[in-house]
Symmetry: C2
Subunit: 237 residues, 2 copies
Protein backbone atom coordinates (compact mmCIF):
# COMPACT_ATOMS: atom_id res chain seq x y z
CA UNK A 1 0.00 0.00 0.00
CA UNK A 2 1.31 3.42 -0.96
CA UNK A 3 2.56 5.50 2.01
CA UNK A 4 3.62 9.11 1.58
CA UNK A 5 4.38 11.95 3.95
CA UNK A 6 4.65 15.12 1.86
CA UNK A 7 5.72 18.02 4.07
CA UNK A 8 5.61 21.68 3.16
CA UNK A 9 8.87 22.70 4.79
CA UNK A 10 11.80 21.63 6.94
CA UNK A 11 11.09 24.47 9.32
CA UNK A 12 8.05 26.00 10.94
CA UNK A 13 8.39 29.48 12.43
CA UNK A 14 11.53 29.62 14.54
CA UNK A 15 11.76 25.87 15.26
CA UNK A 16 14.87 23.91 14.25
CA UNK A 17 15.32 21.54 11.32
CA UNK A 18 12.23 19.25 11.12
CA UNK A 19 11.69 19.95 14.82
CA UNK A 20 7.94 20.42 14.23
CA UNK A 21 7.66 17.12 12.37
CA UNK A 22 8.10 14.31 14.93
CA UNK A 23 4.42 13.38 15.01
CA UNK A 24 4.19 13.55 11.22
CA UNK A 25 7.30 11.38 10.74
CA UNK A 26 6.16 8.84 13.36
CA UNK A 27 2.92 8.37 11.41
CA UNK A 28 4.74 6.88 8.44
CA UNK A 29 7.76 5.34 10.18
CA UNK A 30 7.36 1.89 11.78
CA UNK A 31 9.48 -0.96 13.13
CA UNK A 32 9.50 -2.51 9.65
CA UNK A 33 12.00 0.23 8.82
CA UNK A 34 15.54 -0.07 10.12
CA UNK A 35 17.35 2.45 7.97
CA UNK A 36 16.08 5.43 5.96
CA UNK A 37 17.79 6.27 2.67
CA UNK A 38 18.24 10.04 2.27
CA UNK A 39 18.33 11.89 -1.06
CA UNK A 40 20.35 15.13 -0.61
CA UNK A 41 20.28 16.22 -4.29
CA UNK A 42 18.26 19.41 -3.68
CA UNK A 43 21.12 20.81 -1.61
CA UNK A 44 23.12 23.35 -3.59
CA UNK A 45 25.03 25.75 -1.38
CA UNK A 46 26.32 23.11 1.06
CA UNK A 47 27.80 19.62 0.65
CA UNK A 48 25.83 16.37 0.58
CA UNK A 49 27.91 15.29 3.61
CA UNK A 50 26.80 18.36 5.54
CA UNK A 51 23.20 17.80 4.49
CA UNK A 52 23.33 14.20 5.73
CA UNK A 53 24.78 15.40 9.06
CA UNK A 54 21.90 17.84 9.47
CA UNK A 55 19.14 15.30 8.77
CA UNK A 56 20.57 12.19 10.49
CA UNK A 57 19.94 13.39 14.09
CA UNK A 58 16.26 14.02 13.29
CA UNK A 59 15.79 10.35 12.43
CA UNK A 60 18.14 9.04 15.13
CA UNK A 61 16.07 10.89 17.74
CA UNK A 62 13.04 8.90 16.53
CA UNK A 63 15.00 5.62 16.60
CA UNK A 64 15.98 5.15 12.95
CA UNK A 65 19.29 5.02 11.13
CA UNK A 66 19.76 7.30 8.14
CA UNK A 67 22.31 7.19 5.35
CA UNK A 68 22.58 9.39 2.29
CA UNK A 69 22.45 7.93 -1.20
CA UNK A 70 25.68 9.75 -2.16
CA UNK A 71 27.59 7.33 0.12
CA UNK A 72 26.80 4.46 -2.29
CA UNK A 73 28.63 3.75 -5.54
CA UNK A 74 25.35 3.09 -7.32
CA UNK A 75 22.39 5.24 -6.38
CA UNK A 76 19.84 3.06 -8.18
CA UNK A 77 20.98 -0.06 -6.30
CA UNK A 78 20.70 1.83 -3.01
CA UNK A 79 17.14 2.91 -3.84
CA UNK A 80 16.23 -0.58 -5.04
CA UNK A 81 17.05 -2.05 -1.62
CA UNK A 82 15.96 0.85 0.64
CA UNK A 83 13.51 0.38 3.54
CA UNK A 84 12.18 3.93 3.18
CA UNK A 85 13.12 7.11 1.33
CA UNK A 86 13.51 10.69 2.64
CA UNK A 87 13.92 13.41 -0.01
CA UNK A 88 15.11 16.73 1.40
CA UNK A 89 14.37 20.31 0.39
CA UNK A 90 16.51 22.83 -1.44
CA UNK A 91 16.28 23.63 -5.14
CA UNK A 92 13.71 21.54 -7.02
CA UNK A 93 15.41 21.95 -10.42
CA UNK A 94 18.78 20.79 -9.05
CA UNK A 95 17.02 17.86 -7.34
CA UNK A 96 15.14 16.69 -10.44
CA UNK A 97 18.20 17.11 -12.69
CA UNK A 98 20.27 14.91 -10.36
CA UNK A 99 17.47 12.35 -10.03
CA UNK A 100 17.52 11.98 -13.83
CA UNK A 101 21.33 11.83 -13.89
CA UNK A 102 21.19 8.96 -11.40
CA UNK A 103 18.31 7.21 -13.20
CA UNK A 104 16.05 7.29 -10.15
CA UNK A 105 12.80 8.80 -11.47
CA UNK A 106 11.08 5.65 -12.74
CA UNK A 107 12.64 3.49 -10.05
CA UNK A 108 11.32 5.57 -7.14
CA UNK A 109 7.86 5.64 -8.75
CA UNK A 110 7.85 1.83 -8.91
CA UNK A 111 9.22 1.25 -5.40
CA UNK A 112 6.68 3.66 -3.85
CA UNK A 113 3.86 1.95 -5.78
CA UNK A 114 5.10 -1.32 -4.24
CA UNK A 115 4.79 0.15 -0.73
CA UNK A 116 8.17 1.70 0.15
CA UNK A 117 7.39 4.65 2.48
CA UNK A 118 8.30 8.05 0.98
CA UNK A 119 8.97 11.18 3.03
CA UNK A 120 9.62 14.49 1.31
CA UNK A 121 9.76 18.11 2.33
CA UNK A 122 9.72 21.25 0.18
CA UNK A 123 11.57 20.26 -3.04
CA UNK A 124 11.12 16.62 -1.95
CA UNK A 125 7.37 17.21 -2.00
CA UNK A 126 7.48 18.97 -5.38
CA UNK A 127 9.11 15.95 -7.03
CA UNK A 128 6.43 13.63 -5.57
CA UNK A 129 3.93 15.32 -7.94
CA UNK A 130 3.32 14.47 -11.62
CA UNK A 131 5.56 17.42 -12.56
CA UNK A 132 7.50 20.24 -10.87
CA UNK A 133 5.30 22.95 -12.41
CA UNK A 134 4.15 24.25 -9.00
CA UNK A 135 7.54 24.68 -7.33
CA UNK A 136 8.44 28.09 -5.92
CA UNK A 137 12.11 27.64 -6.79
CA UNK A 138 14.34 29.43 -9.29
CA UNK A 139 15.04 27.27 -12.40
CA UNK A 140 18.82 27.45 -11.89
CA UNK A 141 19.45 24.36 -14.02
CA UNK A 142 17.40 22.75 -16.81
CA UNK A 143 16.26 19.17 -16.09
CA UNK A 144 15.63 16.83 -19.07
CA UNK A 145 11.90 17.13 -18.31
CA UNK A 146 9.57 18.66 -15.71
CA UNK A 147 8.01 15.17 -15.18
CA UNK A 148 8.73 13.84 -11.71
CA UNK A 149 7.88 10.83 -9.45
CA UNK A 150 4.12 11.09 -10.04
CA UNK A 151 3.18 9.61 -6.65
CA UNK A 152 -0.07 11.61 -6.31
CA UNK A 153 -2.50 12.50 -9.14
CA UNK A 154 -2.31 16.30 -8.58
CA UNK A 155 0.17 19.10 -8.02
CA UNK A 156 1.22 20.36 -4.58
CA UNK A 157 2.45 23.85 -3.70
CA UNK A 158 4.66 23.77 -0.59
CA UNK A 159 5.57 26.84 1.52
CA UNK A 160 2.11 28.20 0.72
CA UNK A 161 1.64 31.75 1.93
CA UNK A 162 -1.24 34.07 1.16
CA UNK A 163 -0.77 37.55 -0.31
CA UNK A 164 2.36 39.34 -1.47
CA UNK A 165 5.28 41.18 0.14
CA UNK A 166 4.56 44.85 0.88
CA UNK A 167 6.05 47.33 -1.59
CA UNK A 168 6.83 44.79 -4.30
CA UNK A 169 4.98 44.23 -7.57
CA UNK A 170 5.54 40.49 -7.98
CA UNK A 171 2.52 38.16 -8.05
CA UNK A 172 0.91 36.75 -4.92
CA UNK A 173 1.01 32.98 -4.51
CA UNK A 174 -2.72 32.85 -5.28
CA UNK A 175 -2.07 34.70 -8.55
CA UNK A 176 0.72 32.30 -9.49
CA UNK A 177 -1.46 29.26 -8.83
CA UNK A 178 -4.29 30.98 -10.72
CA UNK A 179 -1.95 31.34 -13.72
CA UNK A 180 -1.03 27.66 -13.44
CA UNK A 181 -4.72 26.77 -13.62
CA UNK A 182 -5.31 29.02 -16.65
CA UNK A 183 -2.57 27.13 -18.51
CA UNK A 184 -3.63 23.75 -17.06
CA UNK A 185 -7.41 24.09 -16.54
CA UNK A 186 -8.16 20.42 -15.80
CA UNK A 187 -5.62 20.12 -13.00
CA UNK A 188 -5.77 20.81 -9.24
CA UNK A 189 -3.19 22.11 -6.79
CA UNK A 190 -3.09 21.24 -3.08
CA UNK A 191 -1.45 24.15 -1.25
CA UNK A 192 0.14 23.46 2.15
CA UNK A 193 1.45 26.15 4.52
CA UNK A 194 4.76 25.75 6.34
CA UNK A 195 4.59 23.14 9.11
CA UNK A 196 1.79 21.28 7.34
CA UNK A 197 1.95 17.92 5.53
CA UNK A 198 -0.17 15.78 3.25
CA UNK A 199 -0.21 12.19 4.52
CA UNK A 200 -1.27 9.51 2.03
CA UNK A 201 -2.05 5.90 2.83
CA UNK A 202 -3.30 3.93 -0.17
CA UNK A 203 -6.15 5.89 -1.71
CA UNK A 204 -6.86 8.00 1.38
CA UNK A 205 -5.22 11.23 2.48
CA UNK A 206 -5.31 13.80 5.26
CA UNK A 207 -3.69 17.09 6.14
CA UNK A 208 -1.46 16.97 9.24
CA UNK A 209 -0.33 19.94 11.30
CA UNK A 210 -1.72 23.05 12.91
CA UNK A 211 -2.96 24.70 9.72
CA UNK A 212 -5.47 23.67 7.04
CA UNK A 213 -4.55 22.98 3.42
CA UNK A 214 -6.32 24.34 0.37
CA UNK A 215 -7.25 22.97 -3.04
CA UNK A 216 -7.00 25.39 -5.96
CA UNK A 217 -9.08 24.49 -9.01
CA UNK A 218 -9.87 26.59 -12.06
CA UNK A 219 -13.33 27.54 -10.82
CA UNK A 220 -12.97 27.43 -7.04
CA UNK A 221 -10.76 27.25 -3.98
CA UNK A 222 -11.65 24.90 -1.11
CA UNK A 223 -10.27 24.31 2.36
CA UNK A 224 -8.85 20.91 3.30
CA UNK A 225 -9.36 20.88 7.07
CA UNK A 226 -6.43 19.57 9.08
CA UNK A 227 -7.13 16.03 10.32
CA UNK A 228 -10.10 15.28 8.06
CA UNK A 229 -9.64 12.21 5.87
CA UNK A 230 -10.56 12.27 2.18
CA UNK A 231 -10.07 10.03 -0.87
CA UNK A 232 -7.25 11.13 -3.22
CA UNK A 233 -9.75 11.00 -6.07
CA UNK A 234 -11.72 13.84 -4.43
CA UNK A 235 -9.00 16.34 -5.32
CA UNK A 236 -9.34 15.89 -9.06
CA UNK A 237 -13.05 15.03 -8.90
CA UNK B 1 24.07 48.54 -33.69
CA UNK B 2 22.33 46.54 -30.98
CA UNK B 3 19.84 48.58 -28.89
CA UNK B 4 18.14 47.10 -25.84
CA UNK B 5 16.08 48.52 -23.01
CA UNK B 6 15.69 45.76 -20.41
CA UNK B 7 13.39 46.94 -17.64
CA UNK B 8 12.91 45.25 -14.29
CA UNK B 9 9.17 45.82 -14.00
CA UNK B 10 6.08 47.41 -15.51
CA UNK B 11 5.41 49.17 -12.23
CA UNK B 12 7.40 51.07 -9.65
CA UNK B 13 5.85 51.58 -6.22
CA UNK B 14 2.30 52.83 -6.65
CA UNK B 15 2.76 54.31 -10.15
CA UNK B 16 0.60 53.08 -13.05
CA UNK B 17 1.58 50.74 -15.88
CA UNK B 18 5.05 51.80 -17.20
CA UNK B 19 4.33 55.26 -15.79
CA UNK B 20 7.87 55.48 -14.39
CA UNK B 21 9.44 54.53 -17.72
CA UNK B 22 8.94 57.50 -20.08
CA UNK B 23 12.56 58.65 -19.91
CA UNK B 24 13.82 55.08 -20.28
CA UNK B 25 11.57 54.39 -23.29
CA UNK B 26 12.48 57.71 -24.95
CA UNK B 27 16.17 56.75 -24.79
CA UNK B 28 15.66 53.85 -27.18
CA UNK B 29 12.71 55.15 -29.22
CA UNK B 30 13.43 57.53 -32.11
CA UNK B 31 11.76 58.97 -35.19
CA UNK B 32 13.08 56.03 -37.22
CA UNK B 33 10.34 54.05 -35.48
CA UNK B 34 6.76 54.50 -36.57
CA UNK B 35 5.09 51.47 -35.05
CA UNK B 36 6.15 49.19 -32.19
CA UNK B 37 5.31 45.48 -32.40
CA UNK B 38 4.13 44.15 -29.04
CA UNK B 39 4.57 40.56 -27.84
CA UNK B 40 1.81 39.77 -25.28
CA UNK B 41 2.66 36.06 -24.82
CA UNK B 42 3.61 36.37 -21.12
CA UNK B 43 0.04 37.36 -20.30
CA UNK B 44 -1.84 34.43 -18.78
CA UNK B 45 -4.82 35.52 -16.71
CA UNK B 46 -6.09 38.13 -19.20
CA UNK B 47 -6.53 38.18 -22.98
CA UNK B 48 -3.93 39.32 -25.50
CA UNK B 49 -6.48 41.95 -26.63
CA UNK B 50 -6.70 43.33 -23.11
CA UNK B 51 -2.92 43.33 -22.77
CA UNK B 52 -2.56 45.28 -26.02
CA UNK B 53 -5.14 47.81 -24.77
CA UNK B 54 -3.15 48.31 -21.58
CA UNK B 55 0.20 48.88 -23.29
CA UNK B 56 -0.89 50.88 -26.38
CA UNK B 57 -1.61 54.16 -24.49
CA UNK B 58 1.89 54.11 -22.97
CA UNK B 59 3.43 54.24 -26.43
CA UNK B 60 0.79 56.56 -27.91
CA UNK B 61 1.54 59.07 -25.16
CA UNK B 62 5.16 59.08 -26.37
CA UNK B 63 4.09 59.45 -30.02
CA UNK B 64 4.31 55.88 -31.31
CA UNK B 65 1.78 53.42 -32.68
CA UNK B 66 1.67 49.96 -31.12
CA UNK B 67 0.12 46.76 -32.43
CA UNK B 68 0.24 43.30 -30.89
CA UNK B 69 1.70 40.36 -32.79
CA UNK B 70 -1.46 38.29 -32.15
CA UNK B 71 -3.32 40.55 -34.61
CA UNK B 72 -1.24 39.10 -37.47
CA UNK B 73 -1.83 35.75 -39.17
CA UNK B 74 1.87 35.00 -39.17
CA UNK B 75 3.86 36.10 -36.13
CA UNK B 76 7.24 35.48 -37.76
CA UNK B 77 6.38 37.71 -40.72
CA UNK B 78 5.25 40.45 -38.34
CA UNK B 79 8.54 40.26 -36.43
CA UNK B 80 10.55 40.13 -39.67
CA UNK B 81 9.16 43.51 -40.72
CA UNK B 82 8.86 45.24 -37.32
CA UNK B 83 10.42 48.66 -36.61
CA UNK B 84 10.91 47.82 -32.93
CA UNK B 85 9.84 45.14 -30.48
CA UNK B 86 8.27 45.45 -27.02
CA UNK B 87 8.01 42.23 -24.97
CA UNK B 88 5.71 42.52 -21.96
CA UNK B 89 5.85 40.93 -18.53
CA UNK B 90 3.80 38.11 -17.04
CA UNK B 91 4.88 34.49 -16.82
CA UNK B 92 8.31 33.80 -18.35
CA UNK B 93 7.59 30.09 -18.98
CA UNK B 94 4.34 30.86 -20.83
CA UNK B 95 6.18 33.56 -22.83
CA UNK B 96 9.08 31.33 -23.87
CA UNK B 97 6.78 28.40 -24.71
CA UNK B 98 4.70 30.62 -27.02
CA UNK B 99 7.82 32.16 -28.58
CA UNK B 100 8.94 28.65 -29.54
CA UNK B 101 5.44 27.73 -30.79
CA UNK B 102 5.53 30.78 -33.07
CA UNK B 103 9.13 30.14 -34.18
CA UNK B 104 10.34 33.53 -32.98
CA UNK B 105 13.39 32.70 -30.83
CA UNK B 106 16.08 32.60 -33.52
CA UNK B 107 14.37 35.29 -35.58
CA UNK B 108 14.29 37.88 -32.78
CA UNK B 109 17.95 37.15 -31.98
CA UNK B 110 18.89 37.86 -35.60
CA UNK B 111 16.76 41.00 -35.98
CA UNK B 112 18.11 42.52 -32.75
CA UNK B 113 21.68 41.72 -33.85
CA UNK B 114 20.84 43.64 -37.04
CA UNK B 115 19.79 46.71 -35.03
CA UNK B 116 16.04 46.39 -34.39
CA UNK B 117 15.41 48.09 -31.00
CA UNK B 118 14.22 45.68 -28.28
CA UNK B 119 12.26 46.75 -25.20
CA UNK B 120 11.36 44.23 -22.52
CA UNK B 121 10.11 44.33 -18.98
CA UNK B 122 10.03 41.59 -16.35
CA UNK B 123 9.46 38.34 -18.33
CA UNK B 124 10.40 40.31 -21.46
CA UNK B 125 13.77 41.00 -19.83
CA UNK B 126 14.22 37.38 -18.74
CA UNK B 127 13.89 36.12 -22.32
CA UNK B 128 16.51 38.64 -23.52
CA UNK B 129 19.11 36.62 -21.58
CA UNK B 130 20.92 33.49 -22.79
CA UNK B 131 18.41 31.40 -20.79
CA UNK B 132 15.49 31.90 -18.41
CA UNK B 133 17.32 30.32 -15.46
CA UNK B 134 17.13 33.52 -13.37
CA UNK B 135 13.41 34.22 -13.68
CA UNK B 136 11.37 34.56 -10.47
CA UNK B 137 8.30 32.98 -12.09
CA UNK B 138 6.53 29.69 -11.43
CA UNK B 139 7.27 27.08 -14.17
CA UNK B 140 3.57 26.63 -14.99
CA UNK B 141 4.31 25.18 -18.43
CA UNK B 142 7.38 23.39 -19.82
CA UNK B 143 9.07 25.16 -22.75
CA UNK B 144 11.06 23.03 -25.23
CA UNK B 145 14.24 24.54 -23.78
CA UNK B 146 15.32 27.20 -21.26
CA UNK B 147 17.42 28.85 -24.03
CA UNK B 148 16.07 32.28 -24.96
CA UNK B 149 16.92 35.29 -27.20
CA UNK B 150 20.53 35.54 -25.96
CA UNK B 151 20.78 39.31 -26.55
CA UNK B 152 23.23 39.95 -23.69
CA UNK B 153 26.07 37.63 -22.59
CA UNK B 154 24.86 37.24 -18.98
CA UNK B 155 21.74 36.55 -16.93
CA UNK B 156 19.49 39.27 -15.51
CA UNK B 157 17.29 39.02 -12.42
CA UNK B 158 14.36 41.46 -12.64
CA UNK B 159 12.20 42.55 -9.66
CA UNK B 160 15.32 42.28 -7.53
CA UNK B 161 14.59 42.73 -3.84
CA UNK B 162 16.93 42.13 -0.94
CA UNK B 163 16.12 39.83 1.99
CA UNK B 164 13.12 37.58 2.61
CA UNK B 165 9.52 38.00 3.76
CA UNK B 166 9.12 38.05 7.54
CA UNK B 167 7.88 34.78 9.10
CA UNK B 168 8.51 32.63 6.03
CA UNK B 169 11.30 30.10 5.51
CA UNK B 170 11.78 30.43 1.75
CA UNK B 171 15.13 31.61 0.40
CA UNK B 172 16.05 35.28 0.02
CA UNK B 173 16.72 36.50 -3.52
CA UNK B 174 20.44 36.69 -2.70
CA UNK B 175 20.35 33.02 -1.64
CA UNK B 176 18.57 32.03 -4.87
CA UNK B 177 21.13 33.85 -7.02
CA UNK B 178 23.90 32.32 -4.87
CA UNK B 179 22.49 28.85 -5.67
CA UNK B 180 22.40 29.76 -9.38
CA UNK B 181 26.10 30.65 -9.19
CA UNK B 182 26.99 27.41 -7.38
CA UNK B 183 25.40 25.45 -10.24
CA UNK B 184 26.77 27.83 -12.90
CA UNK B 185 30.06 29.10 -11.42
CA UNK B 186 31.40 30.82 -14.54
CA UNK B 187 28.29 32.97 -15.10
CA UNK B 188 27.21 36.39 -13.83
CA UNK B 189 23.80 37.81 -12.95
CA UNK B 190 22.86 41.49 -13.21
CA UNK B 191 20.13 42.16 -10.63
CA UNK B 192 17.86 45.17 -11.21
CA UNK B 193 15.34 46.50 -8.65
CA UNK B 194 11.83 47.54 -9.71
CA UNK B 195 11.80 50.78 -11.68
CA UNK B 196 15.35 50.20 -12.92
CA UNK B 197 16.49 49.21 -16.43
CA UNK B 198 19.63 48.04 -18.20
CA UNK B 199 20.14 50.07 -21.38
CA UNK B 200 22.46 48.58 -24.00
CA UNK B 201 23.80 50.34 -27.07
CA UNK B 202 26.27 48.24 -29.06
CA UNK B 203 28.91 47.00 -26.62
CA UNK B 204 28.19 49.61 -23.94
CA UNK B 205 25.59 49.54 -21.19
CA UNK B 206 24.29 51.58 -18.28
CA UNK B 207 21.76 51.30 -15.49
CA UNK B 208 18.83 53.72 -15.77
CA UNK B 209 16.50 54.73 -12.95
CA UNK B 210 16.60 55.87 -9.37
CA UNK B 211 18.29 52.77 -7.95
CA UNK B 212 21.61 51.04 -8.63
CA UNK B 213 21.94 47.58 -10.12
CA UNK B 214 24.16 44.80 -8.80
CA UNK B 215 26.31 42.10 -10.39
CA UNK B 216 26.33 38.74 -8.64
CA UNK B 217 29.35 36.54 -9.36
CA UNK B 218 30.47 33.36 -7.63
CA UNK B 219 33.11 35.12 -5.55
CA UNK B 220 31.73 38.63 -5.15
CA UNK B 221 28.83 41.05 -5.49
CA UNK B 222 29.41 44.50 -6.99
CA UNK B 223 27.27 47.60 -7.39
CA UNK B 224 26.47 48.94 -10.86
CA UNK B 225 25.87 52.63 -10.15
CA UNK B 226 22.88 54.15 -11.91
CA UNK B 227 24.01 56.28 -14.86
CA UNK B 228 27.59 55.00 -15.07
CA UNK B 229 28.51 53.53 -18.45
CA UNK B 230 30.41 50.24 -18.72
CA UNK B 231 31.33 47.77 -21.47
CA UNK B 232 29.14 44.65 -21.60
CA UNK B 233 32.30 42.55 -21.47
CA UNK B 234 33.00 43.92 -17.96
CA UNK B 235 30.13 41.87 -16.53
CA UNK B 236 31.61 38.52 -17.42
CA UNK B 237 35.23 39.75 -17.12
Amino acid sequence: MKQLLLMSSSRKGNLGYLEHADEQLNTILSDKIKRVLFIPYAGVSFSFDDYEKMVRPVYERLGYELVSVHQFDNAAEAVASADALAVGGGNTFALLTRLYENKLVELVHERVADGMPYMGWSAGTNVACPTIRTTNDMPIVQPPSFSAFNLVPFQINPHFISGKPVGHNGESREERLGEFLVMNPKESVVAIPEGTALYVQGDQARIMGEFDGMVFRQDKVETLASGGEFPLSQING
